[in-house]
């Protein structure tokens, strides 16, 4: 495989993903960098467009024959609003499950080595070295760490299930320290307190 990493790792552990963990990671990726990103303002645009059309139609006493374009735009706006608010996040989770099922690699066990400037993930089929500077997003939830990075915007999901509570907390603090700008958490407060 590729060149060995230099120095001793700060931390190392083994990780094997389950389908729901990957789909959770993919949903988060989709919300942040995928097709669902910016869905709040996109749905707002359609909401106000729909509202404007409704107002125009109201002024004409809902005479649809007189203003067919308004009626069509209103319908499209209503559909797009539902699409962005409700359908897209649901679709993303399903897509994540499909991707996991279609991959022979994602369900395999990976060995992670966390170094000062980068991390390495490897198994018998793959070796990936990723510098923290190449990471665009580091997200932490109650169940997973999600790292998005590289030119291909690859997602790396680390399951907390495979880590001890102490190790998980250490990793969280390490990512917070090394990726100040990219780190975000959606961890519930109770869990955070319990961990401490």
């Amino acid at each position: 495989m590729a060149a060995a990493a230099a120095g001793n790792p700060v931390m190392s552990f083994k990780n094997k993903l389950k389908i729901r963990e990957y789909s959770e990671g993919y949903r988060l990726f989709d919300l942040r960098r995928g097709s669902s990103s910016g869905r709040e303002w996109k749905s707002s645009v359609f909401f106000f467009l729909g509202l404007a059309m409704l107002f125009i139609l109201m002024m004409q006493r809902f005479n649809i024959v007189k203003l067919p374009v308004c009626a069509i735009v209103l319908l499209i706006s209503a559909y797009m609003c539902t699409h962005y608010v409700y359908m897209l996040p649901k679709k993303a989770k399903l897509k994540g499950e499909h991707i996991f099922k279609s991959s022979k690699l994602l369900s395999k066990e990976y060995e992670f080595e966390i170094y000062k400037e980068y991390f390495v993930m490897k198994n018998e089929y793959e070796y990936l070295k990723r510098y923290y500077t190449d990471i665009t997003d580091c997200l932490e939830t109650d169940n997973i760490f999600l790292l998005i990075g590289g030119i291909e915007k690859r997602i790396t999901v680390i399951s907390k299930r495979c880590l001890s509570e102490k190790k998980s907390e250490r990793l969280s603090q390490y990512f917070q320290k090394e990726m100040i700008r990219q780190y975000r958490t959606t961890r519930s407060k109770n869990k955070g307190r319990n961990a401490k």
Partner: protein
């Protein structure tokens, strides 16, 4: 079938742009393209018919033209507008991340496929490949439904391409996009 390919290449800006275009082409569901085209045609027909038959006041005429414009937009979105946007975005992205783009080496034989660069190595049995998609400029090697590696067609000779095509067709993993 006996196949042995080993090539090293550097990803140029054009390769990167072509890869992004090919990826979009592969990942866009055919139904989406069809629905948008049908919507476009309906909007143009409705707009034209309304303009000829109803016409009405100036605001209504603007509405009919707007409908025709929306139709034209829908009709040309996947063929003209989207590729232009992707080209622009990919070009910008390439210049911004040029340092992170390394030379790649691909190896393929009848048992194994591997792709290596400075920071990433993937070495898979051929059965683990999800699909090979060939477009006019790029060969995309999908490891699952979304993650992939790519080889610009300029890297491979016509003979090598034919070998790849036949080899993956034989194991039902080839798709011409």
């Amino acid at each position: 079938m006996n196949i042995r390919i080993e090539e090293t290449f550097l990803v140029t800006e054009e390769d990167f742009i072509n890869m992004q275009l090919s990826k979009t082409k592969y990942l866009t569901p055919k139904e989406n393209i069809l629905i948008l085209r049908i919507m476009g045609i309906i909007a143009i027909l409705c707009g034209t018919a309304a303009f000829i038959n109803v016409r009405g006041n100036i605001y209504q005429i603007i509405c009919w033209f707007l409908l025709i414009a929306i139709g034209l937009f829908c009709l040309s979105y996947y063929d003209v507008i989207n590729p232009v946007i992707i080209r622009k975005q990919a070009g910008k992205f390439y210049h911004f991340n040029q340092k992170a783009i390394n030379s790649k080496t691909i190896r393929l034989d009848h048992q194994e496929f591997s792709m290596t660069d400075e920071e990433h190595t993937i070495k898979l049995p051929v059965q683990y490949i999800y699909q090979i998609a060939e477009t006019s400029s790029t060969v995309l090697i999908f490891f699952d439904k979304e993650e992939f590696g790519f080889v610009p067609k300029r890297v491979l000779s016509e003979e090598q391409l034919k070998l790849v095509r036949e080899f993956f067709e034989e194991i039902n993993k080839y798709k011409n996009v």
